[in-house]
Structure formats: structure tokens, C-alpha cells
Symmetry: C2
Subunit: 205 residues, 2 copies
């Protein structure tokens, strides 16, 4: 890792998780130079994100945010409910969408496995983002008519790749909805490339 | 700062904000050794907090959390509404209370100046935490009967120190409420001393 951090020909480093059990993932992630950490998983980059001065935005949350912005979905002042508090998606997304400025200023509620009366909360959301890894968990009766539904889930099931949202039923009530596969997934890769380009530009200057 | 970071007789460093305008506060805060950063404002410590493996917890949010825990207030599964998204109080508190484990597992909604229909949201909260710096902003009709109200505000007004909550009116509907002065304030100092002790123990071993 020290060699890659120093190598001027390397602009971005991504640790493919999960690592084998004998390797401490936290230590490996912290060893990546923050300037090459295109996943934005290094604690310094997570901290900078929270402080509103990010070097890179984490890829999947950034993809979701760009999807909303570029689809002309109003975010500021609206109630966003994020399902799932993972370090990779739910947590950073809840932070990004509630931050001051463009692409933010939403009122965000972060829900998770311990949340009580979940459907009552999700029904109040203007934008519902599912990132919990449970196939077809979000049903039509959990969604406010006209709400925007973003499905970050990718679950391998007997019937193929399935999101966290019961797409066929929810599309009947939602104002807009993303499919799985083909919705958020490709944006994650695009944002990774974007971060790598940003890293290269920053390291070369 | 480099001298203090190296001095083995110094265990904790706190930057008293605000700094004079010619000094870049971000650079100064980032120059504090994370191991001596008893305020927990260094980006690495903020990142570790988000990742659920904090070195130190920020003082005021930690005080609020301890106040709830030691008063026997149930946090897990309950709906907490945090008013204010400052880097010092609202943001880290919203993260801490929604994290997995003891003192966490709440469903947290973070509200701020751009939030629409604020009273409708605050009225759904089991625990309401005000940290916006506006005297007597929270009125009785914004509080669900029986809710726990924590007032982090300290506003200097003509009638003296006043919190963010209209104490006299809200105490009539709340199930529990903290006063200003004398509520959260002293806990901030206690947690700063706790962090300094933790820093010393960690640096001496």
C-alpha cells in the first residue's frame, strides 16, 4: 500500500471488500492515502464530508444524489427518508442530502432495523431511498402517492437480481422510481471514475 | 501546534473558537494531533465517529447522550428530532443517536432552517433536541405531550441567558425538560475532562 501511495502513476486506490478474514479491513482502508482514496472510505475523507468540505464524495451516495439532481427532483426542504444506515450508502447519503447547499437542504430521517412503525414514517417521505439489502422490502402501502422512490438494493434471488423495492407494485403509486438492475448501479461506477479523474487532476497540480 | 503535539506533558488540545479572521480555523483544527484532539473536531476523529469506532465523542453531543442515558430515557427505536445541523452539536448528535448499540438505535430526523412544516415534524418526536441558537424558538404547540425536550441553546438576551425552548410553556406539555442555564452546559465541560482523561490514558500506555 505504501508503494502504491507513493507511485506517481497511480491516482486512485480502491480496496475491494470483503477482505479475507485474517486481514483487518479497517487498518487497510486507513492505510490508503486520503488523496488517492477514490472510494472516500478513509476516516479523514469521511470527516471532511461531514464537515462540508469533501475531497471526494462516496460513489453510490454521489450517484443517488446526481440521479435526483439530473432528473430535476427538488431536494431542498423536502422530507427524505433513507432506509438503512450502512457506512457505504445510508449513512453518508443521509449526511449529504441534509447538508447546506445545492443537492442538499433536505430534511432527512434515517431509518434502520430498530425503527418502530416504519411504514408510518416512510409514508411521510417525499423521497424514499431504500438501501437495506432485503429483496422487495418496500411495499406499495409504505409509499406516499407521488413520492420519488430510489432503490439502491441489489439482491441475488431465485428470480434474478432484485432491488429492495417491490417495483411492480410500488411503480403504481410512486411519482418516479428507479429499476434494479439498471438504476443506481451504473452511476456508482461513473462516480468512481469521476473521483479518479478528480484525484488525478489534484495530484498532477 | 507541532510543539504541543510532541510535548509528552500535554494530553489534550482544545482550540478556542472563533479564531481571529486572519487565521484559517480549518487548518488550525486539522493541525491538532488526532490523539490529543479532545474536542473531536479533527476530520479523522469525525470520520471515526461516523464509522462507529470513535477515539473521542464530541463534548456537547456526548453530554446530551449521557444525560438521556443516566436519566433512564429510552433511546433505541424512538423518534428523535434534532433541530439544527451545526458541526458542533446537531450533526454529530444526529449521527451518535442513530448509531447501532447502547445510547443509539434511535430513528433520527435532522431539521434545519430549510425544513418545511417544522411543527408537524417536531410533534411526532419522542425526544426533541433544540440546538439552533434562537431564543425560545420551540413553543408548546411544537411538542408532543409527554415528549422529552433537551435544550442545548444558550442565548444572551435582555432577560439574561435563555435557551432555544420556551421553558415556562413547554414544561407544561413535556414529560421531561432540561433548563437553561444548568442543563446541558455543565455536561459539556464534564465530557471535555472525560476526553482529556481518556487521551492521557491512551497516550501514557
Amino acid at each position: 500500500m505504501a508503494k502504491l501511495n507513493k507511485d506517481a502513476a497511480v491516482h486512485g486506490i480502491l480496496i475491494q471488500l470483503p477482505l479475507p478474514p485474517q486481514i483487518d479491513a479497517g487498518r487497510v482502508l486507513s492505510a490508503v492515502s486520503p488523496a488517492k482514496d477514490v472510494d472516500a472510505f478513509h476516516p479523514e475523507n469521511v470527516g471532511r464530508l461531514v464537515q462540508g468540505r469533501p475531497r471526494f464524495l462516496p460513489c453510490t451516495p454521489q450517484g443517488v444524489q446526481q440521479l435526483l439532481i439530473r432528473s430535476g427532483i427538488e431536494i431542498a426542504g423536502r422530507h427524505v427518508v433513507v432506509l438503512g444506515r450502512s457506512h457505504i450508502v445510508g449513512r453518508p447519503l443521509s449526511i449529504m442530502l441534509s447538508q447546506r447547499g445545492p443537492g442538499g437542504d433536505a430534511t432527512v430521517t434515517l431509518c434502520h432495523s430498530v425503527t418502530r412503525d416504519l411504514a408510518a414514517i416512510t409514508r411521510t417521505s417525499d423521497i424514499l431511498i431504500a438501501a437495506i439489502g432485503r429483496p422487495k422490502f418496500v411495499k406499495a402501502e409504505m409509499v406516499k402517492p407521488g413520492a420519488v422512490v430510489v432503490d439502491v438494493g441489489i439482491n441475488r434471488t431465485a428470480e434474478g437480481l432484485v432491488g429492495d423495492v417491490d417495483f411492480a407494485a410500488v411503480r403504481e403509486v410512486a411519482g418516479a422510481i428507479t429499476p434494479v438492475p439498471g438504476g443506481v448501479g451504473p452511476l456508482t461506477i461513473a462516480m468512481l471514475l469521476r473521483n479518479t479523474l478528480l484525484a488525478a487532476q489534484s495530484l498532477e497540480t
